[in-house]
């Protein structure tokens, strides 16, 4: 350090820790043994140049009216670009690197930290201040165990009287507040509060429980507005809804398959049915078998079922038939058009559906199935794998909504869901897309009818709107039965003279009765009667004929011939000393 150039008379300088004073008369610097009076009482108008200043005591006598400049405007440095007002202490830098105003508490004790504190006018060391600091390496205080050694912090200590003490993070202008962890790259950003009042949590962590995911809330969460969830929602507690619920595949007939659990078997009561050639033949309600060759398999309700189910339907191969190119053997259910109308199939707004089911087979490999139109030739085949023989396996197939062709949305057939038991090469096509034509399986799929005695069980069949399979819609038995009875109703009796319907005599040998259906049926049903001698009028004579006279969706009139009637007499028609008689009304698809 050298003496300042062009000094004024009496100017002092400290060089190499020694104080000198300049005399213009002699143009010399004289060593002083004590500070000059003006140096000890510097005012705003005085200046002093200090080379290296080392202090062991206090720097005093910078009064409230004075400023301390370090590195910036004033006697200590060059002018900065901006000189703040109302800043008694100003520190300026001009360094092309990180510039620091550094403080460090070198103490390694268990209570040491390094802090910059701003204290309000009414504040103190433990009240009404904001403190930014870092914990020392030796820190250990049981009463402050939130803090670990070398933690950084920003603390506001509030005031119990003014109730102040909020911590305000404010960008003031329209800018964001960004939170990042683990680095300084964009991908280290975890949360951003935007100037548009959006809190954006950037983490993509998946939630699989209440303690995982991008946002974990230990307590409750209140949401005043809408809540949109793109993924799945799992609720372990009770859900209470105080307004309307709109959910496409959760509430109210979400399963478009009827009797998907194979519980109801009005026609056969558990008996085995051999499937004839080219005739749709029903087994359990709503489920039919079909084959291009006669007697290649049977269908029967089974009590074998996966957990949560009681029944299934089992197809048993009756021979070792090698399927021809045009052969098909299937289990199927046709869904009424009314029940798929909301899917929008055949339009640009066609909705996807998800088919789920449980299967078990004595065979393993790739099995096939299909969803087709009932009145249009459009097919979506699917393949699925049974890896372990005689083991229940759940299969889920998501099917995009077809945007072409016309799909019936009235009381005719809408779509057909089929599970193949064997299909020839011309009846099979690759899975995964809608294809023109009727196809029933995928190429090279397992042929159940190809192995004598092979079994194929299926239950829990659900077809629902959307791309997600939900739990099986296990409807009340009465509800499921009523749904089945729109397509089939079988009147039976439990006693030898059980009642069927009321009738009147037309003449002495002819009568007519009214048979009321428990459900409005899909169409005017066909009626099937066993031998006429199975019926009689109550306490009277057996019938020689019984026939459908006129038909409606809700009731039938039935003609019969017998003896001993009186014209216009009233009669009850009963079984004729048997419990095997029945009347079957069928409006199946």
């Amino acid at each position: 350090m050298s003496f300042p150039a062009n000094p004024s008379n009496g100017q002092a300088a400290i060089v190499n820790k020694i104080t000198y004073q300049y005399s213009s008369a002699t143009n010399t610097w004289t060593k002083l043994t004590s500070l000059p009076t003006y140096l000890a009482n510097l005012t705003a108008n005085n200046s002093i140049t200090i080379g290296n200043l080392t202090m062991n005591g206090n720097l005093t006598n910078i009064t409230a009216a004075g400023n301390l400049y370090i590195g910036g405007t004033g006697v200590f440095g060059t002018a900065l670009n901006y000189v703040p007002a109302n800043a008694p202490v100003q520190v300026g830098f001009n360094i092309n690197n990180y510039s620091q105003f550094s403080i460090q508490n070198a103490n390694t004790g268990n209570n040491a930290s390094t802090d910059i504190a701003a204290i309000a006018n009414n504040g103190s060391d433990n009240d009404t201040y904001v403190d930014m600091g870092i914990i020392g390496s030796g820190y250990s205080q049981a009463s402050y165990n939130l803090y670990n050694p070398n933690d950084g912090y920003l603390i506001v200590a509030g005031n119990t009287i003014t109730q102040g003490g909020n911590l305000i993070l404010n960008t003031y202008q329209a800018n964001d507040i960004i939170f990042a962890t683990g680095g300084t790259q964009k991908n280290n950003e975890v949360m951003r509060v935007t100037s548009a009042n959006v809190v954006n949590i950037k983490s993509t962590n998946t939630s699989t429980s209440t303690t995982t995911g991008a946002l974990i809330v230990a307590g409750g969460a209140g949401v005043a507005g809408n809540l949109n969830v793109g993924g799945n929602t799992v609720v372990t507690g009770t859900s209470t809804f105080s307004s309307y619920i709109s959910a496409p595949n959760t509430f109210g007939f979400k399963n478009r398959i009827i009797n998907g659990a194979m519980v109801i078997d009005q026609r056969n009561a558990g008996a085995s049915v051999t499937i004839p050639a080219t005739t749709v033949t029903y087994d359990v309600d709503r489920w039919a078998g079909y084959g291009t060759q006669a007697s290649k398999f049977t269908l029967q309700q089974s009590s074998s079922a996966p957990a949560g189910f009681v029944n299934s339907i089992v197809a048993t191969s009756s021979s070792s038939y090698s399927v021809g190119a045009t052969d098909e053997f299937i289990i199927q259910q046709t869904i009424e058009g009314f029940n798929i109308a909301d899917l929008g199939w055949g339009t640009a707004n066609a909705q996807a559906v998800t088919l789920s089911f449980w299967v078990q087979s004595s065979l393993t490999g790739t099995f096939g199935g299909t969803v087709t139109g009932y009145s249009n030739a459009l097919s979506y085949t699917f393949g699925y794998t049974i890896s372990s023989a005689n083991t229940w396996t759940k299969i889920i197939i998501t099917i995009p909504g077809p945007t072409t062709t016309t799909w019936n949305t009235t009381n005719g057939g809408g779509m057909v869901v089929r599970f193949s038991l064997g299909a020839g090469s011309s009846q099979s096509t690759a899975s995964g897309s809608w294809t023109s034509g009727f196809y029933f399986s995928v190429p090279s799929a397992i042929s159940v009818v190809g192995t004598n005695g092979a079994t194929f069980y299926i239950t829990g069949v659900q077809l629902e709107k959307g791309s997600t399979a939900t739990s099986f819609d296990y409807r009340p038995y009465g509800t499921e039965l009523a749904l089945c009875q729109r397509y089939c109703f079988k009147y039976t009796v439990a006693s030898n003279y059980g009642p069927y319907f009321m009738a009147h005599g037309i003449g002495t040998t002819t009568g007519r009765g009214l048979l009321k259906f428990p459900q409005t049926m899909r169409s005017n049903p066909a009626l099937t009667f066993p031998a006429a001698s199975s019926f009689q009028w109550s306490f009277g004579n057996v019938f020689s004929s019984i026939a459908l006279a006129e038909q409606g969706f809700d009731q039938s009139s039935i003609d019969f011939t017998t003896t001993g009637l009186a014209a216009n007499g009233g009669y009850m028609v009963t079984s004729a000393n048997n419990t095997t008689s029945y009347i079957l009304a069928s409006a199946e698809l």
Binding site: I506, N524, A526, F529, A531, Q551
Partner: protein
């Protein structure tokens, strides 16, 4: 084999009968009924149809009958 049935008090057949083993199925003339659809398809294939008295209809009579159905 199908047989037409004329209910009491009427002159024209309203339903058709189909023998199903020991049982008999009576099929209404409803285009939405699949048994009726199968009946028409089977007639077109040449399956026998009898009138209410048991007389077998000729091919021409069946064709005429089919034209009159819905």
């Amino acid at each position: 084999m199908y047989k037409l049935y004329i209910p009491h008090g009427q002159t024209e057949p309203q339903v058709v009968m189909r023998a199903d083993g020991d049982a008999t199925t009576f099929i209404p003339f409803d285009p939405a009924n699949t048994d009726y659809q199968a009946f028409k398809a089977n007639l077109a294939k040449g399956v026998e149809l009898q009138d209410a008295d048991g007389n077998v209809l000729t091919t021409e009579q069946v064709a005429t009958f089919l034209q009159g159905l819905a």
